[in-house]
């Protein structure tokens, strides 16, 4: 546990969890049914717990979450994408939870600085993936309208999926193997949900691949403004 923690690695994994947690929290009060509101909030809470552990490895968690500028965040562009309709949120959950489960599963088997957290979190993420999978099946293989919306959501987020497999310095996994496993798992779910596996490129013309370098999409700035404004307006405030 005394291994050196790579700042870039802890920020990449921690920011993914923090940003997605905040996005899921935006559903509070708005989810289609009460059970789903509770489910999304619980998933957000798991992710927030991961983020706290990861960010605390390399600094003060509050400073890192509330006082960094947009360019200093290292999260994937996928997780910062707006919630959209419920299908968009589920597609984002399917893509990300499948990735995170594979990544944490691999990290848990290693001896690195993230092994302890990964071994714990992978069990939680298994429930996140199951949740996303069940909804993908229900929406994809549901009514014409739910099928149409789920299909649109899977297509529109596809171009953000390539970035997940760009190597992160300090995260020692077989990224190419990760990508193959991810594609196999997601394709299997989509097929069973009667959805097409998107055929387009997994990275956009200029945006994808940049989140890990601090370049983000337009909506991320607005999300950060909301997430950070209380702390910035009242520095050091406590309950």
């Amino acid at each position: 546990m005394t291994a050196t923690v790579h700042t870039s690695a802890a920020l990449a994994l921690g920011d993914d969890a923090l940003v997605l947690s905040h996005r899921l929290g935006e559903w509070a009060g708005l989810a289609p049914v009460l059970e789903e509101e509770v489910a999304l909030a619980n998933i957000a809470l798991d992710l927030l717990g991961q983020a706290r552990v990861l960010l605390s490895m390399v600094g003060d968690e509050d400073e890192l979450a509330y006082l960094r500028e947009e360019r200093a965040f290292r999260n994937l562009q996928l997780v910062e994408q707006p919630n959209g309709d419920f299908a968009h949120t589920i597609a984002r959950q399917l893509y990300f939870s499948t990735y995170q489960r594979l990544l944490y599963g691999r990290l848990a088997e290693g001896q690195g600085e993230f092994a302890g957290l990964a071994a714990k979190a992978v069990k939680e993420v298994a429930y996140h993936q199951d949740h996303a999978e069940q909804w993908t099946l229900r929406l994809g293989d549901g009514t014409d309208l739910s099928h149409e919306r789920m299909s649109r959501a899977c297509e529109s987020l596809w171009r953000f999926t390539g970035e997940m497999f760009l190597p992160v310095e300090g995260v020692d996994v077989d990224w190419a193997g990760m990508k193959d496993a991810w594609l196999e798992s997601v394709s299997d779910v989509l097929r069973r949900a009667t959805l097409e596996v998107p055929q387009g490129p997994q990275s956009g013309a200029w945006t994808a691949g940049a989140g890990r370098q601090g370049l983000h999409t337009e909506s991320f700035g607005r999300m950060l403004a909301e997430m950070q404004h209380l702390h910035r307006s009242h520095p050091g405030a406590t309950w």
Partner: protein
């Protein structure tokens, strides 16, 4: 070789008797989250706690409660540390803890068959009847009437560690402590 002194055993008993802030019928010892209690010198005690879920907000209340109890018993300095490895599992809940959960109206988690590892997630319709998808699995029983005919309403319930189910016989909804 780590040895535990009589004093440490006494301190552990005290720390372990603290009730869980969210499930006050259970003690921390019964929940299985108290990992170790070490006496350092004459008035410092180190306590190791492990969270049930990484983001469980109850861990802070647990730490404060342990500090309060040990201070009340004359320990001057109490340091509560959170440890993640080895990861907590619902198999760490004691038999007495399971009995109390059931009495409290919460279906206790089923025990894992083999050595702990990632939770096996199985596919099923969105509302999964309790009839186990795999024959070796035992059903989740209703804590009110004991029936094994129960169905899943939601994978996430009042807290991250619970799922919401309903009994098909007595029709009562109930929480199920999910296997982790």
């Amino acid at each position: 070789m780590v040895t535990t002194t009589a004093l440490e055993e006494e301190l552990r008993r005290l720390a372990g008797s603290v009730p869980d802030p969210e499930l006050p019928v259970l003690t921390l010892e019964e929940l299985g989250v108290l990992r170790a209690v070490h006496a350092r010198g004459t008035d410092t005690v180190e306590v190791e706690l492990t969270p049930t879920y990484t983001g469980c907000p109850a861990i802070e209340a647990m730490s404060l409660d342990i500090e309060r109890v040990l201070h009340a018993h004359g320990v001057r300095d109490v340091v509560v540390r959170t440890v993640l490895a080895p990861a907590w599992s619902t198999d760490d809940i004691t038999d007495e803890g399971r009995r109390k959960l059931r009495e409290f109206g919460i279906a206790p988690p089923r025990r894992h068959r083999e050595a702990s590892g990632p939770v096996a997630v199985r596919l099923g319709p969105t509302r999964t009847a309790a009839e186990a998808p795999h024959p070796e699995d035992e059903p989740v029983r209703c804590p009110h009437c004991g029936s094994s005919a129960t169905e899943l309403l939601s994978r996430f319930s009042s807290t991250a560690c619970k799922a919401l189910r309903r009994c098909l016989d007595c029709r009562e909804p109930f929480d199920h402590f999910k296997e982790l």
